[in-house]
Symmetry: C2
Subunit: 97 residues, 2 copies
């Protein structure tokens, strides 16, 4: 099976390049080895779930240099708080595709 990274966050009120960076990071994630897909939505809370072939791909993405800079700016500026959960997909089913 494969893995999901569930990233839930509450934003600060400071924009300061957030949308551009979010787009840039999504584009960069898509280029990584082992990347499968990503889905995002935000109202009061933001939820981004990215899907990866294995844990090594997740580790590599976490320590990517550009991503590390974005993570630092996330903590200093954009996010009030966030939580990251690494999860192994064990089963799935779908409707309507």
């Amino acid at each position: 099976m494969y893995y999901a990274v569930i990233f839930t966050s509450i934003r600060t009120e400071i924009d300061s390049g957030y949308s551009e960076m979010a787009q840039k990071m999504e584009a960069l994630a898509k280029l990584q080895k082992g990347f499968i897909g990503v889905e995002s939505a935000r109202n009061e809370i933001g939820i981004t779930v990215s899907y990866w072939e294995n844990l090594e791909a997740i580790r590599n993405w976490k320590s990517n240099m550009d991503h590390l800079l974005a993570q630092e700016k996330g903590k200093s500026t954009w996010y009030k708080n966030y939580k990251v959960r690494i999860a192994k997909i064990e089963r799935e089913y779908e409707f309507g595709f």
Copy 2:
């Protein structure tokens, strides 16, 4: 560790009691044995992640009678498509809490 149910969906344009049912199902889920928490956001796509103590709790909630009726109405009326992923949380970390 614990489990997540990642529910991603695209809605139809038919409301027909959707918001009321979503609230009712969230309130009902919270009463279930083994329920830990739930987080939701929707823009183009909707993402709801619910957290559960074990797979049995997830199975019980899936087969809850009121929930089954909601699932049927979901397929006939509210959702263009959806995907459900059952995942085991293997690791987590957070910032700012």
